[in-house]
C-alpha cells in the first residue's frame, strides 16, 4: 500500500511536449507509472513515444480515464493549468512548476476548497511510492520500497535523506515533496493524516525549513491526531532574518519562522528532531528496531 500515487494511478501530463515535461514523463513511465495521456494546447492528436496528446484535460479524461495530473507548464500559465485539471475533476494534481505568482496561487487555493481535487506543490519534486509509481522528478533509483512515510518541503533533502534511508536498508511507503512556495497544496498536516491512516506505514518523517508556520501547525496536529512515531529535521538554523534562502517561502520575517522555534514546537509534542540529515536515518533505525 501507499498514499496518493500507486498502481491505481492513471497519469495525464500537462505540458508534456516541453523538454522537461517529456524527459520526466518518460522517466516516470520507465519506473512503472501508467502514463495514459498528455496535454498541450494546439498539439492535440500528436503521439509522444506512444502517449496520446490532447488539447484539453477534459478530453484526456474522457478518452483515457486519467485520474492524476502532473504539471510542467511554465509559471505564467501554470495556475490556469491547475484550475483546468480541477475543473476536469482530476483527483490529484502534482504541480512541479517553480515561480508561479503567489496571487495566482491564492486564487487557486480559494477555488480548490470547493472541489474534491487534492494539490501537491507547486515548486515541488512530486510524489513517489517506491516500486509502484513515480509522479514527479524524484530519482526513483535512490528509493526503496518499505514502510516509512516521508514528507518534505525541500526536494534535495528528500533525495539526500531517502538515499541515506535506503542505504541503511530502510524502505519507504510514499515520499511526498510538498514544495517550497508560500501558498501550496497539501502540507504536513494532510500528509501526516494520510500516513496515520495508511496500514502499510509504520513511521513518518517530516523535513521542514525556515519560513511560515507549517511546522508549528503540524506539531499541534501531531499532538491531537498522530499515534505513529514521527522523526523530523529542520533546515535553516544559520539563516539570517529577512534573507530569502532560495525557495520563495524560505524566509525568516521578524521573529517568525525560525528553525529553532519549529524544532522546539515539534520536540514539545514528542517528535524526535534530528540535527543533521544523516542523523534522520539513525533515529529512524532506532525507532524501528
Amino acid at each position: 500500500m501507499s498514499v496518493l500515487v500507486g498502481k491505481h494511478t492513471k497519469l495525464v501530463v500537462q505540458g508534456i511536449t516541453g523538454s522537461e515535461g517529456t524527459f520526466h514523463t518518460l522517466r516516470d513511465r520507465d519506473y512503472g507509472t501508467e502514463v495514459v495521456a498528455g496535454v498541450t494546447p494546439g498539439k492535440g492528436g500528436q503521439d509522444l513515444e506512444g502517449i496520446r496528446v490532447f488539447d484539453t484535460v477534459v478530453d484526456a479524461v474522457r478518452e483515457t480515464g486519467a485520474n492524476t495530473s502532473m504539471i510542467f507548464v511554465p509559471p505564467r500559465a501554470a495556475a490556469e493549468a491547475i484550475l483546468e485539471a480541477a475543473d476536469a475533476e482530476i483527483g490529484l494534481v502534482v504541480c512541479i512548476t517553480e515561480g508561479i505568482p503567489v496571487k495566482d496561487m491564492a486564487e487557486v487555493h480559494a477555488y480548490l476548497r470547493g472541489t474534491d481535487t487534492m494539490l501537491v506543490g507547486p515548486n515541488c519534486p512530486g510524489v513517489i511510492s517506491p516500486g509502484l509509481a513515480n509522479v514527479g522528478i524524484i530519482p526513483g533509483e535512490v528509493c526503496r520500497q518499505g514502510r516509512v512515510g516521508f514528507v518534505s518541503r525541500s526536494g534535495t533533502l528528500v533525495y539526500q535523506i531517502v538515499h541515506e534511508l535506503s542505504s541503511a536498508g530502510i524502505g519507504q511507503s510514499t515520499c511526498i515533496g510538498m514544495g517550497g512556495d508560500p501558498v501550496h497544496g497539501i502540507g504536513f498536516i494532510e500528509a501526516l493524516g494520510l500516513f496515520q491512516d495508511d496500514p502499510d506505514t509504520d513511521l513518518m518523517i517530516m523535513t521542514g525549513e525556515i519560513g511560515g508556520d507549517d511546522e508549528e501547525r503540524a506539531a499541534a496536529f501531531i499532538a491531537g491526531h498522530v499515534t505513529k512515531p514521527v522523526v523530523a529535521y529542520i533546515a535553516g538554523f544559520e539563516a539570517p532574518p529577512g534573507k530569502r534562502m532560495g525557495h520563495a517561502g524560505a524566509i525568516v520575517t521578524g521573529s517568525a519562522g525560525t528553525a529553532a522555534a519549529k524544532a522546539e514546537a515539534l520536540e514539545a509534542v514528542g517528535v524526535q528532531v534530528a540535527r543533521t540529515p544523516s542523523q534522520v536515518a539513525h533515529l529512524v533505525a532506532e525507532r524501528l528496531s
Binding site: G155, G212, G236, E238
Partner: protein
C-alpha cells in the same frame, strides 16, 4: 522585493491614495532645496528596505533648509541598520488630527489575504496584537471574493465616524495595489486624518512578489536603485541564488534545502558559512566556474565546501565540471568536495585520478563539513 517608501508612495498615488508632497534627495543640497520648495520646514526620511526607522533616528522633523541638509548628510554618510543609504525622502509637514494603522498582507498559513485596521496608530502593531487584541480589527479576505464592502465596513468600524469613508476608500485602493501590482504586503503606519478631515497615507511599506515581477517591468526596473553587494550582483547576473553571510567557509550546493542544511552542518562542525549559494539542478563547468569565482572573490573565505547530491544531476558530470572550472579559476584556498547519489563512485574516482592539490574529497556530508571547518579555522589561526 521590498520597495523604498517613495516607490510605494508612487504606486499609492497612481492608485488614487493621497500622500504628502515629497522629493527624493541623494545629496544634502538636494534635501535643502526640497525643504525650501516645501516652505522651509520638512520631514527627512531615510530610504531603506528595513523597518524601525522612526526609533532608529531615520525620520527627523526639521525647521530650516540648513537643518535638512545636516540631517541628510548624517543619513547619507552612514549605514542604517547595516543597509547602505543612497536616498532620503523630504516631505511636507501636514496638520495631523489623528493617527491610525492599516495593512493588507498575504497570510500564507491560510492562503488568503489578511486586512487589519486600528485607531491606535503609531504603536508597534505586533505589540498591540498581543497586548490589546480587541483594538485591532482583522478580517481574512477570500481572494475569490475580493475586498467586499462588508469587509471594509467591519474594518473601518473601529475608527471615528468621520474618518470611516476616507479610510474605506484608502482600503479599496490598497486592495487594488495588491491585485494589480502582485503586492504581498501593503502597510500604512501611520494612516492619518488631517485637521480638515481628509485621510492621507503618511508612510508606505509595499512588498512585491518576485514571481509576479514579469507582469510589472516598470517595478522590476526599480531594483537598480537598491545598493547591492558587488559579489551578490555578479552571482545574481549569472542566475545563481546567492546570499552573503558572515563566516569563513564558502558553500556551493545543489538545491535550496540541501544548501540551508549545509550551512547548519558546517556551524555544528565549529565554523560558519560565508554564503548561501544554490547552483540548482545543473552543475555544468560554466556554472561551477562562475560559482567558484564568486566565492573566491570574498576575502573572508578560508575554505570552500562543495556539497552535491546527484539525483538527476550525475556526479561524474559534476566532478568534470569542478576540474574544468579549476582550469579557468585559480583556487587560492582548499576545496572540500562531497559527492553522493547518482554516479558518486565515478565522480570520486575522477577527482582521485586528477589529484588536484587543492581538492579534498570526502564521501559524507558530516565528514566533509568537519574537514571544511577544520581547514577554515586552521587557516584563520
Amino acid at each position: 522585493m521590498d520597495l523604498y517608501e517613495h516607490m510605494g508612495k508612487d504606486l499609492f498615488r497612481a492608485h488614487g491614495i493621497a500622500t504628502p508632497r515629497g522629493v527624493v534627495a541623494a545629496t544634502p543640497d538636494e534635501a535643502a532645496d526640497a525643504t525650501r520648495e516645501l516652505g522651509g520646514r520638512s520631514v527627512v526620511k531615510v530610504q531603506v528596505q528595513v523597518g524601525g526607522r522612526g526609533k532608529g533616528g531615520g525620520v527627523v522633523l526639521v525647521d530650516s533648509p540648513e537643518r535638512a541638509a545636516e540631517e541628510a548628510a548624517r543619513m547619507l554618510g552612514s549605514d542604517f541598520k547595516g543597509h547602505p543609504v543612497t536616498q532620503v525622502l523630504v516631505e511636507e509637514l501636514l496638520p495631523i488630527a489623528r493617527e491610525f494603522y492599516t495593512s493588507i498582507l498575504l497570510d500564507r498559513s491560510v492562503g488568503e489575504y489578511l486586512a487589519m485596521m486600528t485607531a491606535e496608530g503609531g504603536m508597534d502593531i505586533e505589540t498591540l496584537a498581543v497586548e490589546r487584541p480587541q483594538a485591532l480589527r482583522r478580517v481574512h479576505v477570500d481572494p475569490g471574493l475580493g475586498l467586499r464592502s462588508f469587509y471594509v465596513r467591519e474594518l473601518v468600524g473601529t475608527l471615528p465616524v468621520d474618518a470611516r469613508d476616507g479610510a474605506g476608500d484608502v482600503l479599496r485602493r490598497m486592495w487594488a495595489v495588491i491585485q494589480e501590482m502582485d503586492a504581498t504586503l501593503v502597510e500604512v503606519n501611520p494612516l492619518v486624518q488631517l485637521e480638515d478631515g481628509s485621510v492621507v497615507a503618511l508612510d508606505a511599506k509595499v512588498t512585491i512578489d518576485d514571481n509576479g515581477l514579469f507582469r510589472h517591468p516598470d517595478v522590476a526596473r526599480l531594483k537598480d536603485q537598491f545598493p547591492i553587494d558587488p559579489v551578490e550582483k555578479r552571482a545574481t547576473d549569472a542566475g545563481l541564488q546567492y546570499v552573503k553571510l558572515d563566516g569563513q567557509v564558502g558553500i556551493i550546493g545543489n538545491g535550496a534545502g540541501l544548501v540551508m542544511s549545509t550551512l547548519d552542518v558546517v556551524a555544528q562542525a565549529g565554523a560558519h558559512a560565508a554564503n548561501f549559494l544554490d547552483i540548482g539542478g545543473g552543475a555544468s563547468a560554466d556554472t561551477m566556474a562562475t560559482s567558484l569565482e564568486v566565492i573566491l572573490s570574498d576575502p573572508a573565505v578560508k575554505a570552500v565546501f562543495i556539497n552535491i547530491f546527484g539525483g538527476i544531476t550525475r556526479c561524474d558530470v559534476v566532478a568534470n565540471g569542478i576540474l574544468e572550472a579549476l582550469s579557468r579559476v585559480e583556487a587560492t584556498v582548499p576545496l572540500v568536495v562531497r559527492l553522493d547519489g547518482t554516479n558518486a563512485d565515478r565522480g570520486r574516482q575522477i577527482l582521485a585520478e586528477a589529484a588536484h592539490p587543492r581538492i579534498v574529497s570526502v564521501p559524507t556530508m558530516d565528514g566533509a563539513a568537519a574537514e571544511a571547518a577544520r581547514l577554515a579555522n586552521g587557516a584563520a589561526a
